[in-house]
Every structure is written in structure tokens, then in C-alpha cells.
Amino acid sequence: MSSLALESTTGTPTAPRIAAHTVDATKIYGRGQTEVCALDGITVEFEAQRFTAIMGPSGSGKSTLLHCVAGLDALTAGSVFIGDDDLRTMSDRQLTQLRRDRIGFVFQAYNLVPTLTALENVTLPLRLAGRKGNDDWVHTVVDIMSLNDRLTHRPAEMSGGQQQRVAVARALATRPEIIFGDEPTGNLDSHSSGEVLHFMRRAVDEMGQTIVMVTHDPHAASYADRILFLADGRVVDEMRQPTTEQVLERMKRFGE
């Protein structure tokens, strides 16, 4: 399985490569009286080939952070880097290409184009880039996500868990530098949720992928290598190799 890992995975365990990072990321919505500071100068790094979860209470800015790092939303101040590239210097076209070629997405819902089959959805970003969507890598991804018997089905013919697995496969299809998940299991029952997380974990372990995921579910977060806790637009805590119980414990303290 190691052959599937990215070529550039040569960093030492003590100094992991950084897939994306922010410097003093600030995001302010509204103006004057209605001004809301969603991100209050966050500086954070996301390591490559790791599974990172972002947690925090509602309004903590976790989704905003994800959207800004993923190039879906623009910062008010500060910088975001994917690899060494500063997103703030990019045009809409460059951002689109960045999302297409270097970033993968899994949203909470509505991940798939309803008129396309599972396989067509998986290969969509590749084909948007004008590439053939039928190489060995795609086959491997489909294999690992156990989607072989679903390839010709349309989203309406699949369960929620299956749909999210297709979404993960789609995110993996372009061999992105980093995959962002916005509550990818938020709409699933616990069984399907566990299944999807299991596959995400495999993508990191067996394919050397990098995943950053926002979640409010402690069990989901426990699949991650590292958890960032946000509150009021700031990173307030961090946890490595978490367990569900530890996360629950930490989350309780937000309520106090």
C-alpha cells in the first residue's frame, strides 16, 4: 500500500511537512454595529498526511476557518497558504483551478450532482480539468471506498452513507494536496458515519492523504490524529491522538 502514498512523503516523523497554514487569519462579517469577528487572527498549520479535526461550539468560527483555508471564502486580513502559495494573491480563475487540482471537498450534504452517476461524480473534477477520468488511481480510490458495485448508480439510488463515500472518492480522485470536510458525517446515522470515517482514515493511512475536517461529533473527531479547538475565532486548545472520552471531556468545558 505504501506505493500509493504521494511521492513527496519524505519528511521525518519529527518534522512533518505542512500542507496548509494560516498567518494571522482574520475574518470580519458586517460593518459597524453589526460587525462580527468570525476569525480573530488565527495562525495555524495543517500537517501533511495527517487527519486533523476542527471542533468548537457554534459560532466559534470553525466552518469559516475551513472555508477560508479551502479558498471558498476570502479573509478580511492575514494570509492563507496551500503549500507555499498565498491564496490572497490568486484570481477567481486561479482559485477555481486550485480547488479543482489541489484541493478536495466533502460537504455535509448535497455533495453530488444528481444527474451524474457515482463514477461520473467521482471523476467530475478530473474531467472539468480536461483529463480522462479513468486511470488506475481512480480505480484504486473506488476500490478502497468499496464503490465498485455502485458506479452506475445515480445519487438518488444510493444511501446517505454511500453518497458520502462517493463524495470522499471524488475528493480523492485528483490526488489533492489536502482534503477539506465540512461536517461530512453530519447528516448520517452512527453506522454510516462510522463507515465513512473509517474510509477517510484509510485514505490517510494507506494513501498518504491529508484531511482537515470540521465536526461537532466527538466520536467523529476521535478518528483524527489531532484536534484543534476553536472558540470566539481563536484556537484555544489542541489535542493529539484523541479518544472519544477525552474529546467529550474537553467539549464539556466549553459549556462552563
Binding site: 466552518s63 472555508h67 471558498l72 471564502d73 477567481d92 480563475r93 477555481t96 483551478q97 480547488r99 479543482r100 487540482d101 471537498f105 460537504f107 448535497y110 455533495n111 453530488l112 450532482v113 444528481p114 444527474t115 451524474l116 461520473e120 467530475l124 473534477p125 474531467r127 472539468l128 480539468a129 480536461g130 471524488r170 485528483t174 465540512d182
Partner: protein
């Protein structure tokens, strides 16, 4: 509920504007037509009332028969001028004056013939009446004619031809070109010319001579003594009149003229009204589509209202109020826009030579009422079914996520209904064309309408396979964007079909007219190839009333380069109780015009022989030697003998009279055309030059070779085609608005999908491409359906007109390919706005909405 309805309207101003616009255009066109009709009617009613104001009674020959077309009117002979002193002596007659009229064509200062009698208003010659009460002219410049070569002309001709008192020019009349001096310029009441006709008034004896009416009058106009009423005058005068001559009141003549003009313009109005109906219909389709989509999008909202206690009737009512408000707004705006259209149409009429005296637009209350009723009615009607669907939304819908609602492939029941309507329409259409029923136009129109409805009912069923086929090359051509476009066009066949339906109507009619006109032109060419074996045609350009003086044919025939020159004459007669156009020529003519004589001989027509087209002979059971009753305006009742039966009526029409027979029965001595065959061995150019050397004395006359003759014969059809295209363009614009609107609405439904696509890397230009191709598929779908219908209509009409010379069915592949291409382009154009808006969508908002 009312406020909800109104708020809904305001919340979607853009959509509102598009919908209002679509209905508005149709209503505006209708209002424009009605306003123009009323205006023209009032104008001409006033004009004729003015012209005959001083005339209390008219003595004229009784009508021999009614002309073949309604507009030709009563056919009368002339009366003897000796009646004038007889009538003048009747007690109560204050003044009496004889009048003749006929063909006279003025030559403008630049040497070109004035007026266009083939397609437009007539070119009239008449006599100058000294009695100012009876004279319809009143001189505005110059003086009455005093010498035999002096004339008074109407002011429109004076303006158009730059002919003012003192100018010398030429008038084409029966005796040949005549040099005249303009003595005066006059007007008719408030108009420069009666309806755009050119009028030349000679001194009476001159007029009688050049109209071929020596010793004759067309009518004697009378003024009554004070205290004698029009009716009384008519009674007194009638007692002294011989058999076959009648006296009528001035009032009657005024009304006859008024109604004759109305009939003449009636075709034009009908024509315009048909397009107004088409425009309204297309608007209704778009309306229906828009309402259907909005109702579907408002499913949750309506569910919420129901959950909050709104009754079904209230929901239905709110939807209808919304529709009614749209309809009302559109109708009111449409009526005002209609005034502009009426002004535009008036300009158009003036441009084609119909002079309309200056008069404000006449807006009658019935015009306003009709437009409001049609506008609001059609809107409500098209909103009814969507509104009922809205009322059926259950309260639970408020709690359900996402938009439900069927994408609709069409139930079996629906297919049966569609097929039935389509079948009924086709049967009605064919029955109207071939069945010989009463009011065939109405039945054909209703049939055509049903065919359109039938196809649109079936639309959603055929839409899916059609989109699949039309879009088939797209994935290969455009990759993923093409594939998505195709899938999007296929995902809701009901909607795609509805958007395509509106375009289908416009394209259907365009296709139909294109096929029909091109078949007609092909038939004309074919007929000329078959029927005309000569080399040149000399055309008077004077239409059925005008012509070439017979001297021209003689002079051309005498040329050393010419083998034969033979004139063709035309007249109106009643044969076997039916008013018909009859043509005439000597035996020379039939040497170079091949009519495929089956029995008898054209050389044996003599004085009382008639040649008949074989279908007419077959229908009536006539054979060689059968005697047929005929009525002529000049000679009255007569008996003709069938002397020839021929197979080809494309050149000589259905009835042919010999030259001697024509001279006996018609006053006119004018040739409508002269057909020329050059001596063998003479180059065409030499022959043309020789003939032109003679015709230079006859301004307005055209010398045409075969190719020019063909294109001259089809010219009228090209003009018709251009006009029809312009008018149908309107319907197509509405349809395109419909496609744009549908796209905008469906994209509104797909915000999240669009956001997703953008998030996973679709560029703005890829997104625009996708939407553009979706629009192209919809447009092509409408076009394909329209062309199939147009093909059917075209075929049916061509088949039905086989007897009237349309013998060739020609499908102009190039023109139709251009139509398809334009439709695709137009579809892409319709996508510009929706795709731009979609591309501007905020990716994030689209992805995380809710």
C-alpha cells in the same frame, strides 16, 4: 391573501418584467392592429363622405355580376352619353355631369412610372368635371385643364413625381404614351390622393378617347335642386332611365366605396390579427411555464400557508390574483405600446404606397376592452392549471425538505389526449384545405392551433428522447460541460418541453411559410420552363387593370430580330354563374405559350370560342362543343362554346378567350404582357436591345429575359416572406424570453448544485458553457418540433393548391438549416443573462445555504 400575492410579485421583479413583457408584446400587437383598423376606417369613411358630399345621385349601368374577389366589386358596363341631356331635363336635377375612368399611368419627372398598381393602389385616369359641387378634386395649385393636352393630377403624385403646374410629362393610356402638360394639382377632401391612388384628370372628350369610351360614360353624377331629397331625386330620375341603367343616392355610393375599401384592407387586418393571436399564444405558453415553475418552487411556502390555516380556495385565489395582476399590468402597458405599433404600421402602409390622410389615432372603447379581456383572460387561463396544482399542496409539504414535484414524462392518459388533439387538428386542417367546407380559413386556422396544442401536450413525452438525440454529440464535443448540459436538459422533460413549445410555434410558422414560398417559387419557375417557349417578356408593370397599348406588340413584332410578338390580355367575366379571371390571346400567343392542349385547338377560338383548363372542364362535365353561359360587363349575357381543353393553367389561367371574342366583350384594348420569340440565330442580347429600343417610349415597361421573368414573378412572394419573417420574429423573441426565464428559474432551483460544481473546480466559463448548451438543446428541441409541424403544414397547403399552380413541393434545405442554426444561436443568446448570473453566484452561499 391579496397582500401575499402582491408581495410575491414584487419579490421577483425581474421575473415579473419578463413575464409581463411576453404577454405585453402580444397584446400590443393586437391593440396596434385594432387601433390601426379603427383609424383607417374612420379616415376613409370621412374621406369618401367628403368626396361624395356634393353628389346627390348617381346614374350608372346595373351591376352585371360581382367580381371574383370581394375587393373587385360589382362589374358594370358603360352607359351612353346621350343619357346626359335626358337626365338633366328631369325636374329636380340642378346639375348633371358625366364621368369616365380607366387606366392611366403617370410618368414622373425622372422618367419612372408612378405608383405600383400590381401590388398597391390603382393608377386612375378620369375626366375633369367643371361643376365644382360634383368635382371630387379641389385645386390647390394651378388651374383646370383648358387644352386637350392639359391635365390635373393629385397632389401625392405631384409630390412623388415632382410634377407641378407647367411641367410636361407622359401618361400611359390605351392609345399609347401621351404627352401632357400639368395644368393643376388638386386634393380630395382632406387627402392628397384617394387611398394612395394616382389620379390624372383630362378634359372630358380626351378622357373618353383615352379610356376607350368614346360616346360613353361610366356614370352620370347629379346634384338635386334645393328641397329635393336624394331618395326623391333617384325616384324621379329612375323613371326616365332605359333598361339596364340604374340611379342610386349619393349616400349609397359613399357607403359602397367605404365598404369596398374596408374589404380591400380586410385581408391586411386579418393577416395582422393572425400574428397578434400567434404572439398572444406564445406569450401564454411562456406564462404557463413561468407559473408552473414558481408554483413548484413555492411548494414549501404554500404548504406553510396551508399549515397556518389557509384554505385551498385561498391558495388558488392568491395564485390567480397574482396572475390577474400580471395580466392586467401587461395589458395596460400593451395597449399603450399598441399605439406605437399602430403608428409604425401606418408608416409601413404609407411606405408601400397607401396614402393615409393625417388624422389622430382612433382608440375605441371596444379596442381597449378587447385587449384587456384577451390579455387578462389568456394570463388567467394559462395560470389556472399551475394554480390548481398549488392549491393541492398538502400542509405537510412545509415540513419536507427539498423540492418535490414530478419531473413528468407524461402519463398514458396524457399521451392519448395529446394524440387525440393532434389527430383532430390534422383532420380539421386537411378538411379545411381539401374538404370544400364552408369558411375553410377558419377551420384550417383552428386545425393548425390544435396541432400546436397536441404537440405541446405530447411535448414532455417526446422531450426526453429528443434531448438525448439532440444532445448526443455534446459530450464528445464539449466534454463534461456538454454532458452536464445534456443531463440538465433531460432532468425535467416537462419544463424543457414547455420552454421549447413557445419557440416551436414561431419556428413552425417560419418553416411553413419558407416551405410554401419556396414551393410556390419553384412551381413558378417550373411553369415558365414548361409553358413559355419564347425568349422575352414585355411587362407593363400595370397590374390587371393596366397594360400596354397594342401598338407596342405590333412594333415589336415588326422588328427584323423578332419571330413572334404576341400580347396576353386579362379581364373579368362571369362564366357559368361564377366570376372568373379570363385571359386572351391570338393564335400567335399559343405558338410560344405552351398550355398542353388536350382536345380542340387554340387556333379555333374565333368570336365565341373558349379554352378551358381540363380540371374545370372535368368538374363541370364540359366537352368540346359544350355551350357555356357567360356574362360580360360590356356586352352583357352571351353564350360561349368550348373550343379547346388544355392541361397546363400556370401561364394562361383557367379560361382563355380568343382575340376577337375579347374585343367583342371588353372595352380594354391593353395587353397585360407581350411575349416575344426572337428569330432563330439572333443572339439574345441583340433581341433585347432591339425590343428595348421600342419600349423606351413606354416608361415603366420592363423587358425581361426568362430568368428575369421568373424572378419578377416570384418577387411578390419574397416581399411577403420578408414581412412574415419580421412579424414572426416577434413571436420568436417572446419564445426566447421564455427560454431565458425558464433557465433563470431552474438555475434558481439548482443554486446548491451550481455551488458544488464551482467548489469542485468548475470555472465560470465552464459553467456558462454548460448553461449555454442547455439553452441550445431546448431551443433546438423547439426548432425540430416546429420544423416537423411546418413541414406538415407546408406539404398540406402545397398539395391543396396544386390546381392553383403550386405544383412543386420544395423543401429548401439551406433555408431550413439556417433556421436551425439561428435558433441554436438564439438559444445561446437567451442563456447569456441566466448564465452570467449563475457564474456570479457566491460559491460559499450556494454550498452552505440553509
Amino acid at each position: 391573501m391579496l397582500t401575499t400575492a402582491i408581495r410575491n410579485l414584487w419579490a421577483h421583479k425581474l421575473r415579473l418584467m419578463a413575464t409581463v413583457f411576453s404577454i405585453m408584446l402580444g397584446v400590443a400587437f393586437m391593440a396596434g392592429t385594432l387601433v390601426l383598423t379603427a383609424t383607417m376606417r374612420t379616415t376613409f369613411d370621412n374621406l369618401f363622405a367628403d368626396m361624395y358630399q356634393g353628389t346627390d345621385a348617381v346614374v350608372r349601368a346595373q351591376s352585371a355580376f360581382e367580381g371574383p374577389q370581394e375587393s373587385t366589386g360589382a362589374q358594370r358596363g358603360r352607359i351612353d352619353e346621350s343619357l346626359l341631356p335626358v337626365v338633366s331635363r328631369v325636374d329636380g336635377v340642378a346639375a348633371a355631369s358625366g364621368e369616365v375612368s380607366g387606366y392611366a399611368r403617370l410618368i414622373a419627372k425622372d422618367g419612372k412610372a408612378l405608383g405600383n398598381p400590381t401590388n398597391g393602389a390603382p393608377t386612375i385616369g378620369t375626366n375633369w368635371t367643371d361643376n365644382t359641387t360634383l368635382n371630387q378634386f379641389h385645386i390647390v395649385e394651378g388651374r383646370p385643364p383648358r387644352a386637350d393636352n392639359e391635365v390635373v393630377i393629385d397632389r401625392k403624385s405631384a409630390r412623388d413625381g415632382d410634377l407641378w403646374p407647367g411641367t410636361t410629362t407622359t401618361v400611359l393610356v390605351q392609345g399609347g404614351p401621351m404627352r401632357v402638360v400639368i395644368a393643376g394639382v388638386g386634393r380630395f377632401g382632406t387627402a392628397d390622393s384617394p387611398g394612395g391612388a394616382t389620379v390624372v384628370a383630362f378634359r372630358l372628350p380626351v378622357a373618353q378617347r383615352v379610356m376607350g369610351a368614346v360616346g360613353k360614360f361610366d356614370s352620370i353624377n347629379l346634384v338635386a335642386d334645393k328641397g329635393v331629397s336624394q331618395t326623391e331625386l333617384v325616384q324621379r330620375v329612375s323613371s326616365v332611365l332605359p333598361k339596364g341603367v340604374e340611379a342610386v343616392t349619393g349616400q349609397t355610393v359613399t357607403e359602397e366605396s367605404q365598404s369596398a375599401l374596408r374589404k380591400a384592407l380586410g385581408f391586411f387586418y386579418t393577416f395582422l390579427l393572425i400574428f397578434a393571436v400567434v404572439a398572444v399564444l406564445v406569450g401564454a405558453f411562456m406564462m404557463f411555464n413561468t407559473f408552473s415553475i414558481t408554483v413548484q418552487q413555492r411548494t414549501r411556502e404554500n404548504g406553510l400557508l396551508r399549515a397556518l390555516g389557509a384554505s385551498r380556495r385561498q391558495i388558488l385565489g392568491a395564485q390567480l390574483v397574482e396572475a390577474g395582476a400580471v395580466g392586467l399590468l401587461a395589458s395596460v402597458v400593451g395597449i399603450f405600446a399598441g399605439l406605437l405599433i399602430a403608428l409604425g404600421l401606418k408608416r409601413l402602409l404609407v411606405a408601400v404606397g397607401i396614402d393615409i390622410p393625417s388624422q389622430g389615432l382612433v382608440v375605441t372603447s371596444s379596442t381597449v376592452l378587447i385587449c384587456l379581456l384577451v390579455g387578462v383572460g389568456i394570463t388567467l387561463l394559462s395560470a389556472l392549471s399551475p394554480a390548481r396544482k398549488a392549491a393541492k399542496v398538502p400542509p405537510i409539504a412545509a415540513m419536507q425538505l427539498g423540492v418535490v414535484g414530478s419531473t413528468g414524462y407524461g402519463s398514458k392518459q396524457r399521451i392519448y389526449v395529446g394524440l387525440t388533439v393532434l389527430g383532430l387538428g390534422a383532420v380539421a386542417l386537411l378538411l379545411g384545405l381539401f374538404g370544400g367546407v364552408e369558411r375553410p380559413m377558419l377551420i384550417v386556422g383552428a386545425g393548425a392551433l390544435l396541432v400546436f396544442f397536441g404537440v405541446s401536450i405530447l411535448g414532455r413525452t417526446v422531450s426526453l428522447p429528443l434531448s438525448r438525440v439532440i444532445g448526443a454529440p455534446l459530450p464528445r464535443l464539449r466534454g463534461i460541460t456538454g454532458e452536464l448540459a445534456r443531463e440538465n436538459a433531460m432532468r425535467n422533460p416537462k419544463r424543457t418541453a414547455a420552454a421549447a413549445s413557445a419557440l416551436m410555434i414561431g419556428v413552425g410558422l417560419v418553416g411553413f411559410i419558407t416551405i410554401f414560398v419556396s414551393s410556390t417559387k419553384a412551381s413558378i419557375n417550373d411553369a415558365i420552363d414548361r409553358g413559355f417557349t419564347g425568349d422575352l417578356v414585355v411587362d407593363s408593370g400595370g397590374g390587371i387593370a393596366g397594360g400596354l397599348d397594342p401598338g407596342l406588340a405590333q412594333r415589336v413584332g415588326a422588328l427584323p430580330q423578332v419571330e413572334t410578338a404576341a400580347g396576353l390580355r386579362v379581364g373579368i367575366a362571369q362564366v357559368d354563374g361564377k366570376a372568373v379571371i379570363i385571359e386572351s390571346g391570338g393564335s400567335d400567343l399559343f405558338k410560344i405559350m405552351n398550355v398542353d392542349v388536350r382536345q380542340g385547338s387554340m387556333a379555333e377560338l374565333g368570336r365565341d370560342g373558349i379554352g378551358v383548363y381540363h380540371k374545370i372542364a372535368d368538374d363541370n362535365g364540359w366537352q368540346i362543343g359544350t355551350t357555356v353561359p357567360a356574362v360580360f360587363a360590356k356586352s352583357g349575357h352571351n353564350t360561349l362554346r368550348v373550343a379547346a381543353i388544355y392541361d397546363d393553367n400556370a401561364q394562361a389561367g383557367d379560361y382563355v378567350l380568343g382575340s376577337a371574342g375579347y374585343a367583342d366583350n371588353f372595352d380594354s384594348k391593353l395587353d397585360n404582357k407581350v411575349f416575344v420569340q426572337a428569330k432563330s440565330g439572333v443572339p439574345l442580347a441583340t433581341a433585347v436591345a432591339a425590343v428595348k429600343h421600342i419600349t423606351k417610349d413606354y416608361p415603366g415597361v420592363k423587358v425581361l429575359d426568362r430568368a428575369q421573368y421568373k424572378s419578377e414573378q416570384s418577387k411578390a412572394f419574397d416581399q411577403l416572406l420578408a414581412l412574415v419573417y419580421a412579424l414572426l420574429g416577434l413571436a420568436i423573441i417572446i419564445a426566447l424570453l421564455g427560454i431565458a426565464n425558464t433557465l433563470a428559474l431552474s438555475i434558481g432551483e439548482r443554486v446548491r448544485e451550481v455551488g458544488l460544481l464551482r467548489a469542485v473546480g468548475m470555472t465560470r466559463s465552464q459553467l456558462r458553457t454548460t448553461i449555454r448548451w442547455e439553452a441550445v438543446i431546448i431551443a433546438l428541441q423547439g426548432t425540430v418540433l416546429g420544423l416537423v409541424i411546418g413541414l406538415f403544414f407546408g406539404w398540406a397547403l402545397v398539395a391543396a393548391m396544386g390546381d392553383q399552380g403550386v405544383t412543386v413541393f420544395r423543401v429548401p434545405a439551406t433555408s431550413l438549416a439556417v433556421v436551425v442554426l439561428l435558433a441554436a444561436l438564439a438559444g445561446a443568446l437567451a442563456a447569456v443573462q441566466p448564465s452570467r448570473r449563475a457564474a456570479k453566484l457566491d460559491v460559499l452561499r450556494a454550498v452552505v445555504s440553509d
